[in-house]
């Protein structure tokens, strides 16, 4: 899935820490075997709380979130649901690692920024920001541009919408063959 970058849109804020993938996508919906149309289940057990801070109309492509966002279960459904919910970039002090990778595979840019920077961005709930993945920069009106780090591999994949499987097959087919030959020669029990 490729997303047009730079991405400009209003910010949604969910600053709670340790929002796990069970909260993002409760387990009972894991029985679905499709990855499309899952946005309606995002935050199912939270969305009707009076204090749930995100609008439910897919109008906030940039999410500013609390530390350790997406921790817990590896369920990629959490990312598919957020994507379907309109989210294309998540800015947080830290992420669950599997969730982070799942984002990069599905057209959502995970952006790690220091706690105080995230807190400052959170004050801009509803305002418009721009995520420029080409330049690795977050910009907005009256905001000093904020640089962020993302691995070159993830950045390229997100920018080009590359399929990781196709990429590995195309670039490393021979090396994989060679590795398997070496392994066969060495370890009989494999």
């Amino acid at each position: 899935m490729s997303t047009p970058f730079p991405l400009t849109g209003p910010v949604g804020v969910l600053l709670e820490q340790d929002v796990d993938t069970d909260i993002i996508y409760p387990a009972r919906f894991l029985l679905l075997t499709d990855k499309h149309g899952l946005g309606q289940y995002a935050f199912s057990d939270r969305r009707n709380d009076g204090d749930f801070p995100l609008p439910l109309d897919a109008s906030r492509p940039i999410l500013v979130a609390g530390a350790n966002f997406g921790c817990g279960s590896s369920r990629e459904h959490a990312v598919w649901a957020l994507h379907d919910f309109g989210i294309r970039a998540i800015i947080a002090p830290s992420f669950g690692e599997i969730f982070y990778t799942n984002c990069t595979r599905n057209g959502i840019v995970p952006i790690c920024l220091p706690q105080d920077v995230v807190a400052a961005l959170a004050a801009r709930d509803g305002e418009t920001l721009t995520v420029d993945l080409e330049a690795c920069r977050v910009t907005g009106e009256g905001l000093d541009p904020i640089e962020f780090d993302i691995s070159a591999g993830h950045r390229e994949a997100l920018l080009n919408g590359w399929d990781e499987t196709d990429r590995i097959v195309a670039l490393y087919g021979e090396q994989i063959d060679a590795y398997e030959r070496r392994q066969q020669a060495g370890g009989l029990w494999l």
Binding site: K35, S73, R75, E97, T101, R105, S151, Y172, W189
Partner: protein, 458 residues
Amino acid sequence: MGRTLYEKLWDAHVVAEDGDNTLIYIDRHLLHEVSTPQSFEILRQGGHGVRRPERQLAVADHSVPTQDRAQGIADPQARDQIALLERNCAEFGIEYLALDSADQGIVHVVGPEQGFTLPGLTIVCGDSHTSTHGAFGALAFGIGASECGTVMATQCLSQSKAKTMRVTFEGRLAAGVSAKDMALAFINAVGAAGAVGHAVEFAGEAVSALSMEGRMTLCNMVIEAGSRTGLIAPDATTFAYVEGRERAPQGADFGKACAYWRTLASDADAVFDREIVIDASAIAPFITYGTRPDQSVPVDGRIPASGEADDKALRYMGVSAEQPMDALAIDHVFIGSCTNGRIEDLRAAASIAHGRKVAEGVRALVVPGSGRVKQQAEAEGLDRIFVDAGFEWREPGCSLCVAMNNDRLPAGARCASTSNRNFEGRQGAGARTHLMSPAMAAAAAITGRITDIRSMAR
């Protein structure tokens, strides 16, 4: 400079440098019904086959019913999902362990007990508790469904190398204290995100003294501290467990394999990015009070004072700051999961249940981790002990660890659970989960309250 166990496993699996990442070879892939439907779709859409079908092993566990299986699966969604796994495996030539076979069980119980899990391998599964297999000195980590597709097509993943953390448990555990308590104490010490980005190696006297079952419990829960990978160096205990299992190397090959496996331990001069030392002899039975696995206290402790405690979590859990954990009333008990659904766990629970009765108003489930664990338990008469005491004895599966099948708790229920996550809604929307060891959960079933196992052990 010497290398750590993690670095040795990593180096042995490098296929190519891939920009700022590394392409590593994946030796084994475990599949279950929930995380793979979309992975197989990726294969179809990309026109890929499965590169090495014999390196994959599939089993249904998350959504399977744990009773009345002869009648088939009542929930049509679960039935379709499990049937889809079976069809996908048939189409792509992957071995599938059928639901009616004694080999069926939770992926992380089945892999080790069949010798599919071995020291020195890289092992992945679309499940965050894949770290369990690190107990054998294998580099094992959970991945997403898209990555599962990539692994089936290429046997490879592009990864960045983790930092290393060694957690040394010095001294011996006291009576009534188990690997689960070590895991909860570790998570409490570093925090729910404390090990993000690190491969965690467990070492020290108390770790060496653990059985393979205990080591799996410990490695299983590193993800609750944010790490994808837990590791323990393979030793005589490991080799004794692996020897003779049907998918493990046999005869002369086994000897050769052991010689290699012995070289994997971290070198004496290896340097870790972080070192943590925990006094094992001072660990008490641990129990969680909140909605994150690091929100825990020793059973004789109190919930932290207001301000320090997470008020939202306390509200959800229906507990208050500074409340003692001991004697808190529970109404449900779950003994099982990939954390504590192995034979040793059932023995520990049965030793408490023996000759006693489940308290009135308490519903207690024992769900073995696999068909083989179930058979072994029945051969030892553990099922009788549980049933006589008033526990329900079920068929193997994830059950109340994830509440995807028909085992679900009602809102407001309070459960003493041997599983690994006390997240909001994990055992059913609005249900409250307290994580603890199997012996502690059995004790809670008997008294109807959180109970210090050390006051009940015989």
